[in-house]
Symmetry: C2
Subunit: 565 residues, 2 copies
Amino acid sequence: MTNKILIVGGVAGGASAAARLRRLDENAEIIMFEKGPHVSFSNCSLPYHLSGMVEDSKSLVLSTPETFKKRFNIEARVNSEVININREKRTIMVKDAVTGNTYEEGYDKLILSPGAAPIRPGSIEGIHNKNVFTVRNVVDIEQLNAYIKENDLTDVAVIGGGFIGVEVAENLRLAKLNVSVIEFADQIMTPYDYDMAQIFHKEMVDHGVNLIVNDGLAKINDGSIETQSGKQIMVQAVVLAIGVRPETRLAEDAGLEIGETGAIKVDHNYVTSDSNIYAVGDAIEVYHRLLHKPALLALAGPAQKQARAVADHIYGIPNRNLGVIGSSSIHLFDLNAASTGLNVRTADKAGYSWDSVYILPADKVGLMPNSNVMHFKLVYENPTGRILGAQAIGKGNIDKRIEVIATMITMNGTLEDLKDLELTYSPMLGTAKDVVNHAALVALNQLYGKYREVKVAQVRELVENNAFIIDAREQNEYNAGHLKNAVNIPLSEFRDRLDEIPKDMAVYVHCRSGQRSYNMVMALKNLGFTNIFNISGSYLGISLYEYYNDLVTDREKIVTTYNFK
Amino acid sequence: MTNKILIVGGVAGGASAAARLRRLDENAEIIMFEKGPHVSFSNCSLPYHLSGMVEDSKSLVLSTPETFKKRFNIEARVNSEVININREKRTIMVKDAVTGNTYEEGYDKLILSPGAAPIRPGSIEGIHNKNVFTVRNVVDIEQLNAYIKENDLTDVAVIGGGFIGVEVAENLRLAKLNVSVIEFADQIMTPYDYDMAQIFHKEMVDHGVNLIVNDGLAKINDGSIETQSGKQIMVQAVVLAIGVRPETRLAEDAGLEIGETGAIKVDHNYVTSDSNIYAVGDAIEVYHRLLHKPALLALAGPAQKQARAVADHIYGIPNRNLGVIGSSSIHLFDLNAASTGLNVRTADKAGYSWDSVYILPADKVGLMPNSNVMHFKLVYENPTGRILGAQAIGKGNIDKRIEVIATMITMNGTLEDLKDLELTYSPMLGTAKDVVNHAALVALNQLYGKYREVKVAQVRELVENNAFIIDAREQNEYNAGHLKNAVNIPLSEFRDRLDEIPKDMAVYVHCRSGQRSYNMVMALKNLGFTNIFNISGSYLGISLYEYYNDLVTDREKIVTTYNFK
């Protein structure tokens, strides 16, 4: 008996499922339905059309119905909206957008991959104006790009500082437009903690983006927008990138179970509450293995894995379902960044007993060309040392460190495992002790109580309260810029200047990147100073942490001059 | 009681041990002895002085005795050769190279970090000429560089195609010299299998290196060298990079146990056969966790880990010893490469039941700038699916994929684990299904018997024996270059041309990079063709595999035109 399998929606989920199904069964009848004109396109590459990095929008389209037919003998019907499911009859109703006709199609198995739709808050005045755009597919990005180019736009606002908002802003900026980004939260890029996000904030303003956090879109006027705090910004177009909502209408109408997150509920095998209907991709909720509960995760990698698992399940091949951890990366102007697992905020919210370290090592041997500081934050469980997540930002090979952490999380690794990893090294590509080994060593020192640290976010309070802060750098470094009330006692001199260091109060030590202060902290501890703290992040981290808020508020600076390298 | 700890040798092992010891004990008396003038330098960066990438050789020196003294209160005595150990008295005899004086120094604990010395086969005529160099330290590289510059050399031979030989050759070539590399084995870079090494061979000849394999140095004349096969090569200087030999003299003379590999034998804690003497770095043998036996591993990362473990052990801190797996990377002209664990050759020699896959995916989304093909080979145990090793070569983020495999090996991961890993993705940095996920899927298909493949090395024989080979690419691709007797049946046409495919003989399928052939192989299998093989590596892999040997021999080509991208 021939299997007839219908797939609603293409792109990462649907197209992957279709191709895998064909490899498993040459005789199955496989039909994909896509509402829009493109059955398979590079979703994540859409923003790059705005800068011209992807010049021809046609190259965003990965496969046409013709290729699907010829290569895979799969029928892909574009401009075909599936408007309802009759579960009893095992049929769907399809509407042809070109002819307007509707027709029924029967199935043995149905796979839903409808994705998620950009949120467009209807209550905001002007939200439906023709100069207000969202970015979901090739048609959207073509329309936005055409509107900008044809009307010679100079000023655009992007609402929302998540992945899409940030990438759209970057690419508009690369196309020489004036770009404002309005973010409701106190930071953009929420997979990153607030301290790490300050690096993004600096990168945005350094590249001329008008970044506004803690504010929302209130109203869209003709030629301007108004924020909730009352700011007026002159813009000729608005891109909404506030977030996405799982496309559940079809599933809901068919009476399929919806989960607590508002997305389609599926079991281990991505089967919905109807055993003949599967669902994958951004429309479903997935099990988060660190949060131990259902979560939304609109990412292409997991969607592809789910699609393959569904095809396998239809043909009786068992699949493990390890849940998700949430790994992602982004390129932003001159920065690369990546994160995986939990950050401090999500770990805390989930009730974990956590701690973290933030280190700033060189990404490759310092004397090699293009050696740069990498910002690396590791979150772990206390006291087990289990690795919970990491975030890394810098200019070079950032993501490779996060892949190692993602692998460690999946393999239930601890700080001891991470410390012992034997990774590759050559001077052009890394350092003998890799960033992740380094982070594990620092974290173990903290976990085992070998030394204590304060976080970069606490430094302002220390300065304001006149805490005793030692700057362990050399005098010329200190003179070039330092914390306002820090005492300069270089590592190279402190053994002769111990009498300057108080024993009856807390002492905080920093240097440039944390290496020298670590050595001083350990020495002072061994010398009987009991109330010694290393300042995590050191002067580089402090400079970055303070920079953006110094810029956008009128508060007093705690540094005389920043140092960013 | 104050601990007095003496360290013989600086660089990765000795200097790391010293700094860690100081952090553990502010009062210990720590003295390092270094035969040469530099106590700590970037060993792995030495070759980059030859091209001027590291212009000032002084920057290769990472720390001076002054810095050690001031920052760490560690005494570093340079130009101080330790000539023997009196284990009973717990003293060493030191010879001051400047004054010629010798003196005794007592110890509580002694750490040996003497490294390994370049091999200089005394039997070769001319081997001690003044224009024959080795590269071990800053003085060596300064002398080589000065000799080249001062004498305006134009032609240099490098003997040996390991890491140092290859990096020296690259940097000499970047300095516009004519460079010959003579390698005794049939390939350079032995951490890589023969098929992967062909990519290095092409890179070398593409950049104008005169690469000679299967040949050795026989004789050094005035102005030329003679190889064992009788080749005369006009060169004005020779760099010996044949390999290194652990520096065991001091240990042997002191009666310390030497292991089966010829290096110093140590226990779990890097204690030698004398409980007051430790040894670390290139002079010791380490336990290889995949080979289950002692091995030599001259790498900086493991040396640093050993050094830290020794310092910890002296102060009663326990350390795990997971053994080594052998992870390394290299940058060579336009290529990055990395490897970890076992390759096919070492897995086979160790008696493993192994299999491998070789895939050629894009390293990032194809339509992004700088997207390139990555060559990735994964070796695993059959039937357990345990991951044994991997090799990757390409232009982009190569090493990140190998770090994941190194992590997997350490965490005892299998192909199923690798397939399920949730790694980061953004179009500028990778692909939704990462290279390592992809390799695991292909390997699982093979392991589970879903399809069979032949290796790229077997293709010549297939062509010569007139095997039935299908080229599944489109006709225009076939016309641009193809295997001499391949039949062009594009994936997009084969379902209508099934009658052209024989059922009574083996059928081999390839395309450009393996994706289309995989789909065709699966379809044919499902259509009842039972004797179907995918050609691993596909046309890109075949082109690379054949290129170098086609160039240096007069054998007949099996391709009409190569395709490398």
